[in-house]
């Protein structure tokens, strides 16, 4: 295994593009090192991106959005009061990843690129309408987060491509988001179902919404039927019932040791209802 610590993305891409064997990028390493130790994946080239200037920064954009560097850890994200005020759901998704020790290292980008359908920070990013900037040998492109995972463990990134930043849109007024997951323990476990809701209000009425489900399909889902169930409503009981039914209908989980299919389908509806209420309260606050 060769370890590289390039000083620029261009240099990192050149190394990746020239590598013929197994290549991994190193952000927080909390997936890469576990896979290395378990003998699952031993990269020939390991490219540490953390020494690239700017990768640890969280920056407010001129339009009110946010640009999050690819080496920002969960702990750093949670310590950024202004970002937490804008996007509490995005941050609480990331903060559910692992223990305090894991939080000191793990990143949003690593969580996304590891490609687990149960990744806890991904539904929040999808509901928020986050995008990633991808740089590669053929230039730069922008992709919505929901288009990054293509199947478990696989992303839409081409060889040599690297995510250089995550962008969150401007939050605006009267808006809120939330993420909830179900796990059998209270912490340090993998989501059986995850659900994120982001919505915008005009007075009491929902004018825009994005709802995302994790761990109930090969990749994260963005469910338009869930959004349609609550847009134009005041999130009354009838709207919440429709939302829960739409979430359960969209969930296409497998049965595994963490939960049978029927249970996950039901829980998807329960979490959608609860997360929507929290997002609504946050939008009102």
């Amino acid at each position: 295994m060769r370890y590289h610590a390039p000083a620029t993305f261009d240099e990192a891409i050149a190394i990746a593009a020239g590598a013929s064997g197994v290549t991994r990028y190193l952000a927080g390493g909390t997936d890469v090192l576990v896979q290395l130790r378990a003998g699952m994946v031993t990269p020939d080239d390991l490219i540490d991106l953390k020494k690239i200037p700017g990768t640890h920064d969280i920056t407010r954009l001129p339009d009110g959005g946010w640009r999050i560097g690819i080496a920002v850890s969960g702990a750093e994200l949670g310590a950024h009061a202004e970002l937490v005020a804008d996007w509490p759901g995005v941050v609480e998704g990331m903060e559910l990843v692992g223990s305090t020790q894991v939080q000191g290292r793990a990143t949003l980008t690593g969580n996304l690129c590891n490609g687990s359908p149960a990744a806890d920070s991904v539904p929040g990013l999808v509901a928020a309408g986050a995008t990633v900037t991808i740089q590669g040998p053929n230039g730069t492109r922008e992709l919505p987060v929901e288009q990054v995972p293509v199947k478990p463990g696989k992303t839409a990134l081409e060889p040599g491509e690297i995510i250089t930043a995550i962008t969150l849109p401007a939050r605006g007024k009267s808006a809120g988001d939330a993420y909830l997951r179900f796990i059998p323990r209270t912490e340090m476990d993998i989501a059986v179902v995850g659900c994120a809701v982001s919505l915008v209000l005009d007075g009491d009425k929902v004018t825009a919404a994005r709802i995302s489900l994790g761990a109930v399909a090969p990749t994260v889902l963005l469910v338009q039927d869930c959004a349609d169930a609550i847009i134009g409503t005041t999130l009354d009981d009838a709207a919440l019932d429709k939302l829960a039914a739409a979430a359960s209908a969209a969930a296409k989980p497998i049965s595994d040791k963490r939960g049978p299919k029927e249970f996950r389908v039901d829980v998807a509806g329960v979490l959608a209802r609860r997360a929507a209420k929290i997002a609504y309260e946050r939008a009102k606050a």
Binding site: Y3, G28, Q101, R105
Partner: protein, 159 residues
């Protein structure tokens, strides 16, 4: 496999070692620097026995590569006592019998110290949540939590 020269600061001292790129920071601390206080319980980030501070953040040193430590500031359990003077957390762990085999103890102490630096007056649930990534197979967690609460109270009194 060519080794990489790494220079870092550990407990205030400048250190150098040669690391195979696959070696973890935990391996390097234990095998190259003879700092065997941090333990390997799992090697996969689950148990916290290998907890150290890396550039001011609590991390599991089994999930950090030694070569990543270039230029870093690291603190380990070996730097916790001031000469023969134990840190209040260390004293309270002994007083409350918050250890049996002791394998998990260095990790708990490093993690608890990081908590008290951030939050000098944590609630019981804040302590339990912060320490959720530290596993103990013998003592049970109540004595550990009480030792941390007691140390926190003493440290607040002294401040």
């Amino acid at each position: 496999m060519s080794k990489i020269h790494v220079q870092a600061t550990v407990n205030g001292d400048s250190v150098e070692f040669l690391a195979d790129p696959r070696e973890t920071l935990l391996d390097c601390l234990r095998d190259h620097l003879d700092l065997t206080g941090a333990k390997e319980g799992c090697g996969t980030g689950d148990c916290g026995a290998c907890s150290v501070m890396l550039n001011g953040r609590l991390v599991s040193s089994c999930l950090v590569l030694g070569v990543e430590a270039e230029g870093a500031e690291i603190s380990t359990i070996e730097g916790m006592a001031d000469g023969n003077e134990l840190h209040p957390l260390q004293r309270k762990f002994i007083e409350h019998a918050a250890l049996q085999c002791g394998f998990c103890t260095p990790g708990f102490l490093v993690a608890a110290k990081a908590l008290l630096e951030k939050n000098p007056d944590p609630s019981e649930s804040e302590i339990r949540f912060w320490l959720a990534g530290n596993l103990c197979r013998c003592t049970g967690y109540d004595k550990i939590v009480r030792a941390v609460q007691d140390a926190a109270a003493e440290m607040r009194g002294a401040a």
